[in-house]
C-alpha cells in the first residue's frame, strides 16, 4: 500500500479526515448543548467591589441565603470567605430553575455541588452566577474547591435539595436550613 512518499502522505491525509470527523462530532454535540439546551459555563461578567460588600444592598448579611425574589425566581446568595461559606447551609427546591449568586471579599475560592453540574470559580471583584435545576433531592456537599489558604480543607457548606412540595419560604420569600416549612 504505502510504497512511495505520495502514498504515505495520502494515507496520512485519509487519517486526518477521520480525525477531523471525530473532532467535528464532539464540537457539534457541544454546540448543540450550548445553543439548544442552553448549557454554558458560568460567564457572568458582573463587577462588585470586594472591599465594600458589607455596604452593598445585595450581599449584606440579612440578604444572604435562599430567597424567592419578587419576580418569582428562586435565588441563593452566598459569600465565600476564608474559610467558610456564609450561610453554610442553604435550602433549594428540586425540579425548579434556581440561581446561585456568590462573591468573595478576600481571595479566590470556588465551589461545586456534589452530584450536579453546579461548579464555578468565585473571583473577588465579580459576582459568580450559576443557573441550574436540581434533579435529585438530598443533602449535597458544597466544598470550596480552589486553594484559598491554610483553612481551605475545612471550607464546606451543605445544599439541602427538598421536593418542591416541601419548599415553603416564609414572609419576605426567605427560607433557611433551620426551618423546613
Amino acid at each position: 500500500m504505502a510504497i512511495n512518499e505520495d502514498a504515505i502522505l495520502k494515507s496520512e491525509l485519509r487519517w486526518a479526515i477521520v480525525v477531523g470527523g471525530i473532532v467535528a462530532v464532539i464540537l457539534i454535540a457541544i454546540l448543540y448543548a450550548a445553543l439548544a439546551m442552553h448549557i454554558n459555563p458560568p460567564s457572568n461578567r458582573e463587577y462588585v467591589d470586594p472591599k465594600t460588600l458589607h455596604l452593598s444592598a445585595e450581599f449584606t448579611e440579612a440578604n444572604l441565603g435562599t430567597r424567592v425574589d419578587p419576580n418569582g425566581q428562586v435565588v441563593a446568595r452566598l459569600i465565600a470567605t476564608q474559610f467558610e461559606f456564609v450561610p453554610n447551609c442553604i435550602v433549594l427546591p428540586a425540579r425548579t430553575p434556581v440561581t446561585m449568586r456568590i462573591t468573595s471579599p478576600d481571595v479566590i475560592h470556588g465551589l461545586l455541588v456534589s452530584g450536579t453540574n453546579v461548579n464555578t470559580m468565585v473571583i473577588p471583584g465579580y459576582v459568580a452566577q450559576v443557573h441550574t435545576t436540581f434533579t435529585k433531592t438530598g443533602d449535597l456537599l458544597m466544598p470550596c474547591h480552589e486553594f484559598c489558604g491554610l483553612g481551605h480543607s475545612q471550607m464546606m457548606a451543605t445544599v439541602r435539595v427538598v421536593p418542591p412540595a416541601a419548599f415553603h419560604p416564609g414572609p419576605g420569600g426567605r427560607i433557611a436550613c433551620g426551618n423546613r416549612g
Binding site: M1, W15, V130, T133
Partner: protein, 64 residues
C-alpha cells in the same frame, strides 16, 4: 550507521540499524495494521466521550 570496533550487543538498542527484513515488503502491507489499531483507539475515545456526555453529564441537570 555506526560500526564500532567492539562487538555490538543487544544493548546498543539506540544505535541499532539492524533492519532485519525487507522494507519494501513491509511497506506493501503498511499502514493497514496502523489504521486498524489507531481507528479502534480513536473510536473507543469517541464512544467514551459520548457515553460520558449522555450518561453522566446531561443527567446531572442543566447548567448555565
Amino acid at each position: 550507521m555506526i560500526e564500532p570496533s567492539y562487538p555490538v550487543t543487544a544493548h546498543d538498542y539506540s544505535s541499532d540499524a539492524e533492519e532485519l527484513g525487507s522494507l519494501e515488503d513491509a511497506l506493501e502491507e503498511a499502514p493497514r495494521g496502523a489504521l486498524v489499531v489507531s481507528g479502534i483507539a480513536v473510536g473507543l475515545l469517541m464512544i467514551g466521550w459520548l457515553g460520558m456526555y449522555f450518561l453522566v453529564f446531561l443527567p446531572r441537570g442543566p447548567v448555565g
